[in-house]
């Protein structure tokens, strides 16, 4: 682990990246829904610019950039740190939040002549709150600070699920909240145990002190279980499909593309940054096996859904499973671990863009046809060519066909599995791709069949273009140069040249 300098040049950018959407949230609350929309939309380019600036600083320094809040270095103070993965995640979050925000203008504009709109106010506030919480998760350097960020993320995500107030959405939101609350207390108990053992919660200080004591294993198990509940890894996925399928499309895109990645990112931080001293064979095998089960169950259930949004939501359950292969495939300091690491991060990015694109497209289909029953899609692709192109391209990435980010992720994981002799993980990786092909076919086959689709309302071209843009990014990830993967290695423990 790299010794932590208190504050590096450019460290204040991290504070800005967190504070900007947080301030936007507060101002939106004070000024009402009409202003909230303007604030949220206005902040998106600024936030994107800030995230790019952070990435450039990290790339220029070749090392993580850090900021000690209040000038107090850890263990007394709290540090913010951004390494290569943090910077990439911040850029991803800003792009998807911006896409969802501009897409949502049609649905969540405050109508003329109306003083205040509850749904609009909730949406514009919560999307900024999610963004602030995600940025804090990506740069947080203190486990308790990260707990607070995780809670902020949950409290911002739950209202988005039940924004239209139908009873089934309220029940979905409540179930989501209860799973999340279990996750948060479990994580918090683990934090308490770690603090009791080592007297600090700073990630890099802990990494130097942690040893394989039984209490550390207990804390790691508690924190991991909590994070799995929030990430919706099988068998704790039950809350996800109703929550993500019932939310408005723009909210679903953010929830499925970004919010579940927030808690997964913390699981990465925990195992690769805080606990590199623990032997990883057993926990890696457990997490990988759960991931394999998630791939199989999620895909099979997706094959059986009658509604498009539920199908896409179950596909999220399956794709989350792939993320967890990173634990066996990137463990330790082997020659193949960078492959597994790159594959895992690439899967986060590819799924984030592809799934956000597919949810936005699914929302357009539901608005145009008045329903999202797959059986009623006959001829719809002729009426909505751009939207079904988006669904198809996103689907290609989920299947892992070249040239897409999903292919790149699975290819890297397969190479890591072969190089490390853990060929067993190649079975769910390849099998899941086949099953994904099945459920994407189920969407596209009826849509491409002959027939006359009854279009109730033609979606705006601009919204179709936003969804298509995200799908194109998921494709473009396949052409990521080697420099991108080198960038992801910045700050990774065990990365070349920074032995613990």
């Amino acid at each position: 682990m790299i010794a932590q300098p208190a504050t590096t040049p450019g460290g204040f950018l991290l504070v800005l990246a967190v504070l900007l959407p947080a301030a936007g949230t507060l101002f939106s609350f004070a000024l009402g829904s009409r202003a909230a929309e303007k604030i949220a939309l206005g902040l998106t380019p600024v936030g994107f610019f800030l995230a790019c600036l952070v990435a450039m600083k990290v790339a220029a320094a070749g090392a993580p950039i850090a900021y000690a809040i209040g000038g107090l270095p850890p263990p007394l103070g709290i540090a913010l740190r951004a390494d290569g993965v943090s910077a990439v995640m911040m850029v991803t979050a800003s792009i998807i939040v911006a896409a969802a925000a501009f897409y949502a203008r049609a649905k969540f504009a405050t109508p003329d002549g109306v003083e205040e709109s509850r749904g609009a106010l909730t949406f514009w506030i919560m999307i900024q709150a999610i963004w602030a919480a995600l940025n804090l998760i990506f740069v947080g350097g203190d486990l308790f600070n990260l707990y607070v960020a995780l809670e902020l993320l949950t409290f911002a995500a739950v209202p988005l699920v039940c924004i239209d107030g139908r009873p089934e959405t309220l029940a979905a939101a409540l179930r989501y909240l209860l799973f999340a609350l279990f996750g948060s207390v479990s994580y918090l108990l683990g934090v308490a145990l770690l603090y009791g053992l080592y007297g600090t919660l700073d990630i890099s200080l802990l990494a130097q002190r942690v040893g394989a004591a039984p209490m550390v294993w207990t804390a790691a198990a508690l924190m991991t279980a909590g994070l799995l509940a929030k990430t919706a890894l099988f068998p704790l996925h039950l809350w996800l499909p109703p929550a993500h399928a019932n939310a408005p499309a723009a909210a679903s895109a953010v929830l499925s593309g970004l919010v579940v990645k927030g808690s997964f990112f913390l699981a990465l931080r925990l195992w690769f940054y805080v606990l590199p001293a623990l032997p990883t064979a057993a926990p890696g095998a457990v997490l990988g096996a759960l991931g394999a089960l998630a791939v199989i169950f999620g895909s099979v259930l997706a094959l059986r859904q009658a509604r498009l949004k539920l199908l896409v939501a179950y596909s999220t359950v399956a794709q989350i499973g792939y993320l967890f292969f990173v634990f066996p495939l990137a463990a330790g300091a082997h020659v193949w671990s960078p492959l597994g690491w790159s594959g895992g991060v690439m899967q986060i990015l590819a799924h984030a863009f592809a799934k956000a694109a597919m949810f936005l497209a699914a929302g357009l289909v539901a608005e145009a046809l008045g329903h999202d029953r797959i059986a009623g899609f006959r001829g719809a692709a002729r009426a909505l060519p751009l939207t079904f192109l988006t669904l198809g391209l996103g689907g290609l990435s989920l299947m892992g066909l070249p040239p897409t980010g999903g292919f790149e992720a699975k290819w890297l994981m397969l190479r890591a599995a072969a190089a490390s002799g853990q060929w067993i993980w190649s079975l769910p990786i390849l099998g899941g791709g086949l099953l994904a092909g099945g459920y994407v076919y189920r969407i596209l086959a009826p849509a491409l069949a002959d027939g006359e689709a009854a279009i109730q309302a033609r979606p705006e071209r601009s919204r179709e273009a936003i969804a298509l843009g995200l799908a194109v990014i998921a494709l473009a990830l396949a052409f990521a140069p080697q420099g991108f993967f080198d960038f992801l290695e910045i700050g990774r423990p065990f990365a070349s040249g920074s032995a613990p």
Binding site: L178, V185, Y198, A306, E367
Partner: protein, 112 residues
Amino acid sequence: MNPSLLAGLVGAALVGLGLYGLIAHPHPLRKLLAFNLVGSGVFLVFGVVARRGAAAGYAFDPVPQAMVITGIVVAFAASALAVALILRLAVAGGDVSLDPQASGRRDDGEAE
């Protein structure tokens, strides 16, 4: 038995009881109360940690106390959000069970 050990054991018992309630009770309000029970247990454990003074050998470590205060605020906010959801659910549907079989309404895929 010293006070720290007693507090630790009570904390563990509260966490255990709360987890049981969180899993076993179908009614969301009971689940919420069980969550608060787990939270209380975790805060007690933080108290024990503070008493032991893990950091720098202080007799009483103030940092875990600050964490407990933050944790209580977070748990309070979570409970308020959950109660608000349960109330809205009771008003909207009159049925607050999370049992999918008990729910009268079927989701038929109509767009909202």
